[in-house]
Symmetry: C2
């Protein structure tokens, strides 16, 4: 049994899991992230505090089903979520997201329609949840949130471009090394099969590459 408990006065969230109470996050921690892009007014801070809800996902849990419209985004505090899609019945990892990153099914979330992406938890994960309506409210009332979105998307953008560049005319080994390098922190925690589909090779090939030295 999972129960979310929100202690109003302290901005400090607790999660009660099987009767064991466990602090997961102070909401203030997330302010830092925003403040690398914009200044947060007290007003905006309190709106964020009201709207961001803590949530946890157990390892293996399905966070988003592709048959549903994605109506919320998750800001990860700890753990790893994976976005993937199915091709010929096989799961192809689209990307991995970890601490201080937002995750959703982009097209589905922004356009409120179904898309091909599933999201699941690679390991136990704690996050803050933000509903699309709340985000719209923030965009409409705090122009600085628009700037935040623009700037933070910008860095993801660069990342995607690099990935496209690195995907063509690079050997399986090069891609493996590149992945290990870029995702040094989370690499050891991700099953080999998921890594393989992320970099576009088969499990078997990745296993061989990995063992060869």
């Amino acid at each position: 049994m999972l129960l979310l408990y929100l202690e109003n006065n302290t901005n400090c969230y607790y999660i009660i899991v099987n009767h064991k109470q466990k602090t997961i996050e102070k909401i203030e921690d997330i302010y830092q992230h925003f403040e690398t892009y914009i200044k947060l007014s007290e007003d905006l801070k309190s709106e964020l505090t009201n709207r961001l809800k803590p949530i946890i996902f157990k390892k293996g849990e399905l966070v988003l089903d592709a048959n549903q419209i994605c109506k919320e985004s998750y800001f990860i505090r700890k753990g790893v979520l994976r976005t993937y899609f199915l091709k010929d019945g096989k799961e192809i990892s689209e990307y991995f997201s970890s601490a201080n990153e937002w995750v959703n099914s982009p097209k589905s979330f922004m356009q409120r329609k179904k898309d091909m992406y599933y999201i699941d938890a690679v390991e136990d994960t704690t996050a803050f949840l933000l509903k699309v309506n709340d985000l719209v409210f923030l965009f409409d009332n705090f122009p600085e949130m628009e700037r935040y979105a623009r700037l933070s998307m910008g860095s993801v953008f660069g990342h995607l471009m690099e990935r496209i560049a690195s995907m063509r005319f690079t050997s399986a080994k090069e891609r493996y090394l590149h992945f290990k390098n870029v995702y040094a922190d989370i690499y050891p925690r991700i099953p080999l099969g998921m890594v393989a589909s992320y970099i576009g090779i088969t499990q078997e090939t990745l296993s061989r590459i990995r063992s060869e030295k």
Copy 2:
């Protein structure tokens, strides 16, 4: 000899090329593009008009050298620009941009530092130029421009994700057909070698695929 001539009162630009005067664009045309995302106040319209400058590129012309910082963006009206980088001395096409799209070297433009991307003109191209400082001015003074940026980036974002998805576990032929489909309008105008590097295969393979049916 190329000369840019700006007729102030009419919002209508002329370009004089070899003494032949040729109208290229009414500035109003570009408003439509913005208005698919945001409402344009008269104030913002006039600032856009003041800051967007018409420019033309001849086929084959280098628009941006990777050794330079990208200090301006181009909004294409007609023609095709290509963003590419060098790998082992060979040009790898990163993407093609055509009418009603912005082009720049994203990281270089936003972070004001050098990046790996060159831009050249695949065919004669007319565009509006916007300097980074002018864009900053617009962002600082018109919050709706932040929204415009966020929304228009969003669609590019979806496009990049689809491309990454289509790049793994798809045969050369599938990627070729996908490209032809997505870029139906500009496909016939782009040399085969450039298309090949875009989809990540060699020219020879593309030539064989194309001739096989």
